[in-house]
Structure formats: C-alpha cells, structure tokens
Amino acid sequence: MINLKNVTFKWHKSDSSPTLNIKELVIEKGERIFLYGPSGSGKSTLLAILAGINTVTSGEVLILNKNLSTLSNTTRDAFRADHIGYIFQNFNLLPYLSPIENVTLGCEFSKIRKQKILKQSSNKSAALQNEAIRLLNALGLTAQYHNKNVAELSIGQQQRVAAARAFIGSPELIIADEPTSALDTNNRESFIKLLFEQAKLSNSTLVFVSHDETLKPLFNRSIDLINLQEQV
C-alpha cells in the first residue's frame, strides 16, 4: 500500500539537515496506523509527502505501487483526487456549500470515485447525494444538520462533514491530520471508532496522525516518528 525507502525531504535545497529522513516505512492495505510524535517532528511533512502535495528530495515513495516522485504535477493531482481522502486539522469546509454539497465535492473531481458510487446505486441521479447522506449519518451528523449553513455547525460537526468528504467514493487511502485535536476525550474515541467503521466498510487504509499518545491503544499499529527518523 505505502512503501517509503531512503526518503529525505528538505524544504529548501540549502537546508543543512533534512526535515525528514526515513530509511523505510511500509504500511499494508487495510491497516489502521497511528502516527505520532511531538510538534515539529515532521508529521505534517510526512503526510504532505504521502498525499503527493510535496515531493521528496531523494528516495522513493510508492503509494498503491505508483512512484509519486516520477509522476507529473497533473498526474499527481489526479492520483490524489482518485485514491486519497484527506481530513485536515482545520476541517477546511467551503462556507458557501451545505454539508451535503461539501461531502459530494470530494468525488466531483474524480471519475473513479464517482463511478464507485454510481455502480452501487440504482438511483443514478441522486446517488452522490444519497451516499453523502449515508456517510454523514454514519459519522454521526443527524439529518437536521445536513442542509444547514456550514458556519452554524459546531467544530465536532464540521469535522464529521470533513471526514465524510474524505470517505466518499471509498478512496484506498485515508489520511487524517490531527482531526481530533479540538475534541474532548470521549468524543475523540467515539469519532475514531466511527472512522474505523467507515474505513472497514470502504476497504480503506487509514493513517491517523496525532501528538496525543493516549489514542494509541485504539489502533492496531502505531509508529513513533521520532524513532522512524534516522538521526543524522
């Protein structure tokens, strides 16, 4: 699923030591990975590399057996849209779209993800809409909020919308960047469990990043970024 080899990453070519230096990282399909480390340990950088937002300075990044560093910008954009769902730290919803529209937006730019939904649905015209409603319900946002103004939703609710957007069209890889940092402990656990359920349903691999080590027991594998990084 994910295969990193001898990866280094520098923000600028002139930087003396790389921000990231990973000898090897392998994540299998269907795994639920907890990636942790203190602030500044390079978590976000690693996620940006996994999502193909940034390209590595040296080394090999294989996602779904595709070497991201060899792809052109456009192909990388398309690859990301088709295969990766990303949940941001600050949820990043469009304020002028309803929660449902925000969710369907996740597959509007990917034919593959759209097709996946249409294949399963008998009602083609409302397929995306229905799938968005299903995901929102499954992630704990009740129907009364589905058409509300995004700005009126609480942080927890916004985060469920963001998660549903990442899951729509069942991408192979879900990357969640500290999505629970704004939640209290109880809500965190229940939210993570809902993520697991969806990941299982949609057959997605989940990479979950946090600096909060108390969440560690919930995952089937955890990776300490400090240990992962090769000390130079």
Binding site: A48, I53, N54, T74, D77, A78, R80, A81, D82, Y86, F88, N90, F91, N92, L93, L94, P95, Y96, L97, E101, L105, G106, E108, F109, S110, R165
Partner: protein, 431 residues
C-alpha cells in the same frame, strides 16, 4: 458543471462585493451606451435638419454662419438679400422651387419666420419628409400664423388663439406690437428640427410688424381696390398670393431646389459672382458636414469619456477580483485538496469574472433603456435631439461585446494567479 455551480455559489456568498462590482460595470455600460446613443442621434438629428434643398442663398458671410442663421436660427445676419435679386435669381432656368425666408423677429423667445406658402410644400427635413399639419392649415391671410409643434406645446397655444409678435429677438423686446395680433390657424407635426421652435407667418406680415398698423390698412385697401377692379376668379387668387408676400425690400435668405443637380453648381457660381449684390450660395448638405466636422472634437471627447468610464469600472473589477483572491486562497486550496486541478481554478475565476461582466452588461442595458426612456423627452425638447427607443443596434451590441471581452481578459489575470497557487501554499494557511 461543478465549476459553474461552485462559481455561482461562491459569487452568491460574496454578493455584497460582487454586487458593487456588477453595479459599477452596469453604470459604465449604461453611460457608454447613452453617450454613444446621444452622440449618434445628435449627429443624425443634426444632419436631418434640412434635406432636399439644393442651395441656400444669403448675404455674403461665412458658409457655416449662413447655415446657422438660416436653418438653425443661431446668430444674426445683418445683411439680407434684396427682393429684386431674389426675383432675378429664382427666375433662372432650372429653378424648380424657392422659399424666401425672413428672420429676426421673435415671440416669447421663439423665432418668427416670414415665408410663403411654398415653405409648406417644398421644405424637407430628415429623409426628404414634408412638413405635415397636426392641426389646422397653412396661413391664408396676412394675420395668420402656423406654429411649430414645440411652440404650441410650450406656450400652450390652441387653434384660433390670438398672439402678438414683437420686433427683434429675445423675450423682453421693448417694442411690442400689441396692435397686430395674429391668429393661430395651424400647428405642425414634430420634426425634431428648429422648425418645431418656429412661428411661421406670411412674408408680408414681417413688413407689417415693422411698418405698423398703417401698412395693414394699406394692404386691406389695396386688396379692396383690386377686388373692385378685377372680378376674375384667377386674378383674385393671384392677388391673395401677392397679398401674403407683400412688397418686401429684402429677405434674410432663400432656399432653392433645382430640376436637376447639374444646375446647382452652375447657379451657385453665378450667385457667388452676382454683381449687384454680395451674395453667397451654400449647399446645405456640404456645409452641414463641415459644421459637424468642427464639432467632431466634442464628439471625440464624449467617446473618450465613456471609454475611460468603462476602463475605470473594469479596473475596479480587477482590483476587487485580486483583493478577493488573496482572501479566497484558503477556499481555492480546499478545492485543490479535494482534487480540483489548477485549470479548474482557472476556469472558476474566469467564469466568475465573465458572469459578473455579463450580468453587469445586462443590468447596464436595462438602465440604459430606463435612461433614454426617461430622458428622451427632455433631450427632444431642450436639445432638439430626437432619441429613438429601438432594439440595441449592432454597433451597441458590439460595444457590449467589447466590454464583455475586456472583462473576460481582465478576469484572466487573477485566474492565472489562481492557476499557479500551489497546493502546499494553501495547505499551510491555517484557519
């Protein structure tokens, strides 16, 4: 599809600033169209003032001066043409018709024109249109007057009203002739030319105004004598005609039409070399053109103004778009993160500016119609420009097209910037 929807929703979300931009564009479109319409209609109103007249003859001055005084009633000519010369010239071969005109008097600020019945049958304006009567008939007696449409409207004169005509121009003439009232016997249809602002009286009446009561009595006596002497019907008619013309010493100018345009140049040359008197013959179409060319600078300045207004509104749109763009970096980054490619963002921003310009043009056109609809009457009555309410002409559609194209091109600037926003730029912006 999704891009159009996003553009629409995004515009709706920023409706305050979008509406302002839209309104600026709308106003500039309205201004451009209005200025252009007035400019074009002014030009055509101007060249429509007189038509079908081959030659205007007056005392020797400048070409334009003669045209202004004889057709537009602007300025004075101190000298006139002697009646003898008039009779001599109009008796030349090839002269189809002639209209003597005598100006210089006024009624409540409106020009008074002394002429013959030929005026009503031969004077042409616009596309060789005749003067037509809205009410009544041409004058048949010396104390009858035919009003231009605007005179009748403005001063509220009805048929059979009795009015007094004073000597000299201007509203407050010292020398009022209260003893010579005229009876309104006809009102002309509107022409959009100075004819509308003119009172037409028989040529003989001009003498009457200047000569006082005595001449009227004299004329009447004269008439009676004739009636006694000649019982013949035809003679009587001839008499009446003479009576309307009177025995003027001189007239201000006269208009001529010829049997063939070939005569025009020849007779004009003869007139300009006419020995007994210093005369000038002008071809109104040529002189109108010369006059308009003199005014062309005004025309160009008007056009320049409207172009600048459009430019400013488009620059305003560019400013708003660019300012919005930095506020919308996060929005664009979100779109990139859910899979939108750079060209999606490019299209999004372009569509938005195109939509704003399009709506601006539509609203502007509506405002423009509102403007000419409400100001048309004012322009007609105060500037003599007849503004026609018609469908947008190809020229106007072309102007709108140019504005749309300019708006689109200007929209490409922020669109290109959006295109080069990298995903990592957007990601690093925190909420």
């Amino acid at each position: 599809m999704i891009i159009a929807k996003l553009a629409y929703k995004s515009l709706l979300n920023r409706r305050a600033s979008v509406l302002l931009t839209l309104f600026t564009i709308a106003i500039s479109v309205m201004l451009l169209l209005s200025i252009e319409r007035v400019r074009i209609d002014a030009k055509s109103s101007f060249s429509n003032t007189i038509s079908g007249t081959d030659l205007i003859v007056g005392a020797r001055t400048g070409d334009i001066q003669l045209l202004l005084s004889s057709v537009f009633r602007i300025g004075h000519t101190n000298n006139g043409v002697s009646w003898k010369s008039y009779e001599y010239i109009t008796s030349q071969r090839g002269v189809k018709w002639s209209i003597p005109i005598s100006l210089g008097d006024s009624h409540k600020g409106q020009a008074v024109l002394g002429t013959t019945l030929d005026y009503f049958s031969h004077y042409r304006f616009a596309k060789k249109q005749n003067l037509t009567f809205n009410k009544g008939r041409p004058f048949a007696a010396i104390n009858e007057v035919v009003l231009g449409s605007e005179v009748a409207n403005k001063l509220g004169y009805k048929l059979n009203a009795s009015i007094v005509i004073s000597h000299g121009m201007g509203n407050t003439s010292f020398h009022h002739h209260d003893d010579n009232p005229f009876k309104v016997v006809g009102v002309l249809n509107p022409t959009g030319t100075p004819v509308d602002k003119t009172l037409h009286i028989p040529l003989a009446a001009i003498d009457l105004i200047h000569g006082g009561k005595a001449s009227l009595v004299h004329e009447h006596e004269h008439e009676h004598e004739h009636e006694h002497e000649h019982e013949h019907e035809h003679e009587h008619e001839h008499d009446e005609h003479n009576n309307l013309v009177g025995h003027p010493k001189q007239i201000t100018a006269f208009l001529m039409g010829f049997n063939s345009p070939l005569y025009t140049l020849q007779i004009r040359r003869n007139i300009n070399q006419y020995k007994p008197e210093a005369l000038l013959g002008i071809m109104p179409t040529v002189t109108l053109k010369e006059l308009w060319e003199m005014l062309a600078i005004v025309e160009k300045i008007l056009l320049l103004f409207s172009a600048v207004v459009v430019l400013i509104s488009l620059l305003g749109m560019l400013t708003t778009l660019l300012a919005n763009l930095s506020q919308r970096r996060r929005e664009l980054a979100i779109l990139r993160s859910v899979g939108a490619r750079p060209w999606h963002l490019f299209t999004l921003i372009s569509i938005e500016s195109l939509l704003t310009t399009l709506l601006g043009c539509l609203v502007g056109s509506a405002l423009y119609y509102l403007a000419i609809f409400s100001a048309g009457g004012y322009l007609q009555s105060h500037a003599g420009i007849s503004v026609n309410i018609t469908m947008l002409s190809y020229y106007e559609l072309g102007l709108i097209g140019v504005i749309m194209a300019a708006g689109f091109i200007i929209g490409l600037i922020p669109a290109t910037r959006a295109y080069f926003y990298s995903l990592s730029d957007g990601m690093s912006i925190k909420a």
